[in-house]
Subunit: 386 residues, 2 copies
Amino acid sequence: MPDVIPEDSVGLVTEQTHRFTEPLQLRSGRVLPEYTLMYETYGTLNADCSNAVLICHALSGDHHAAGYHQMSDKKPGWWDNAIGPGKPIDTNRFFVVSLNNLGGCSGSSGPTSDNPETGKQYGPDFPIVAVRDWVNSQARLADVLGIDTWAAVVGGSLGGMQVLRWSIQFPQRLKHAVVIASAPKLSAQNIAFNEVARQAIAKDPDFHNGHYAEHGTIPKAGLMQARMLGHLTYLSDDAMRQKFGRELREGKLNYSFAPEFQVESYLHYQGEKFSTRFDANTYMLMTKALDYFDPAADYDSDLVKCLGQTECEFLVLSFTTDWRFAPERSEEIVQALVKAGKPVSYACIESDSGHDAFLLPIARYHQMLRAYMNRVATDSGNGGGK
Amino acid sequence: MPDVIPEDSVGLVTEQTHRFTEPLQLRSGRVLPEYTLMYETYGTLNADCSNAVLICHALSGDHHAAGYHQMSDKKPGWWDNAIGPGKPIDTNRFFVVSLNNLGGCSGSSGPTSDNPETGKQYGPDFPIVAVRDWVNSQARLADVLGIDTWAAVVGGSLGGMQVLRWSIQFPQRLKHAVVIASAPKLSAQNIAFNEVARQAIAKDPDFHNGHYAEHGTIPKAGLMQARMLGHLTYLSDDAMRQKFGRELREGKLNYSFAPEFQVESYLHYQGEKFSTRFDANTYMLMTKALDYFDPAADYDSDLVKCLGQTECEFLVLSFTTDWRFAPERSEEIVQALVKAGKPVSYACIESDSGHDAFLLPIARYHQMLRAYMNRVATDSGNGGGK
């Protein structure tokens, strides 16, 4: 709750929407006849439209990446620590675009939107979108904003997958790709975690096969469990040890099934909070997009061949204790880029925070990001724009 | 399904029970007025009762560790690969005792038993037992069987915790302790996984706060999710990659929420199977026993001081890709024993199989176990008994 907006904040920002009436052909074979994207922009687009940076969000993210919607907001956007005047993604230099992805539940068309063909809420009938569908829709948003080429496309986790897809799908429309805490595809274990989370939602009797809105229910328990499990995979074992150890809520064991350890209360709190703000069908759909992501599949499962299509420069970042997308997964991307003869910088950042690290203002991480974005600025003719 | 019982099998075995009428004081403060333990024995107790080996089971194990109950059994007991004539735990030399723990659902007193005080099933009112309670009840079983001192107490995972507790609680009643794929206490992450599993069960509307029997229901969905999650933590990322990769059930993506990847089907199958054989209240209770286990807590949280109480020799084994109880957790035990000046042998066994490895007939693992059990046999005067 900022009494005064901090000086290095983008300040008060306004959500914008654009309605796209040209049908979008999806990977699944289905077609979205029309759709809306909700987005925010920070900074100013320069005269030759060369300083635009696209931010791609992760599983439960949205378009509100930086700044405040109103003075009474308790918290700024989800990546406010990295985006702002003088910050690593410096809004004095860059025109930053952040959108809510298709299928989301924060303003863009998704399961909670009305289906124009029926006039009723999509619910579970909203098509399962793939990462390439997001990238196609993001390219159309770029067209609307007059951006032919992004100075950089940036994202962490599932966001990083969108960045990779951009570099393959529209090689000439981005100059730099920043892929953080990501992977070239999910492992069987990653998929398994997603499926357990989906099962928690699907088996909640309030889910009604996704038609909960019609039943006036919300699959709160299922969403809560899915989020608890998600959180578990975002935090490292070390981080949990440091944060909670085996501390007891009431200082003693109660021999009951109520939460007794601090870590249990924390997960309950996180799950509870999430279950009231996020849409279950969106959660199902986003995890499927993760499972399906495998860009090399179109290139005989050869990641070198796949990334051979790219024409941008890459920064790849990973974090030492991330076990959801471990450094080895980022290194697969780096190795493939090197073999394909593409320009890539890589760093594995020391951090105790697991996968969550990509959202945190870790000094070394932000130094790397800042240094790389300085190069991006120079490349886009905005080197002196500070 | 053995047409002929294999030569190295203990053969057909018979379950036995003993009813204990002396009340058992539990860690929680509650008292079990009377209780039954179900157990099996393999091999023959020698004249001076010096060749007895106790097997302690893990989370979902039971007393049926080796052999067959009838010729039509599809599978032998859960640790048949290690227990039998000529096997690492050689029944030509040892008298092996394996029991179902208190609170279990395979014949010993637990939530599915009748409460003698009410004549009705215990259900969720069965007391939450701690590892020390199990060890106390196992000591009484030893008394009944005429075993003053175990040649060895052996267990993996939660079973290994019972072994540790034995060595602290009854230092003079065992000569050797074999602690496999275990830990001196759960980490916050371990506890968190257990809590997510418990929540899956507790939030299943068929659970009825544990009173499902009275409602004629079974919390199948919850148990299934708990087991799917459990399985995920038993397998290593590598094992899953080798076993499933990203193979699709039908060779192509369906863009639906039904299981599409092989790993999803496998987890569904495992969860489904488990949900029809295991009792939900027992699952809740067993995971609590895991969470609570922390023997050093009684010794100013000093594991060296705690293990300083022990008088037996130790074999500690871990597995390279086990991330539920990683090698580092076993090494905490080893380091504490070394600091306390206690005799300990340790090996970290190369394996791709994650935590599950402790149940598998991995050559190097069984060699280590066999060699150590040879020493146990020599110590107990049964060195030449082959």
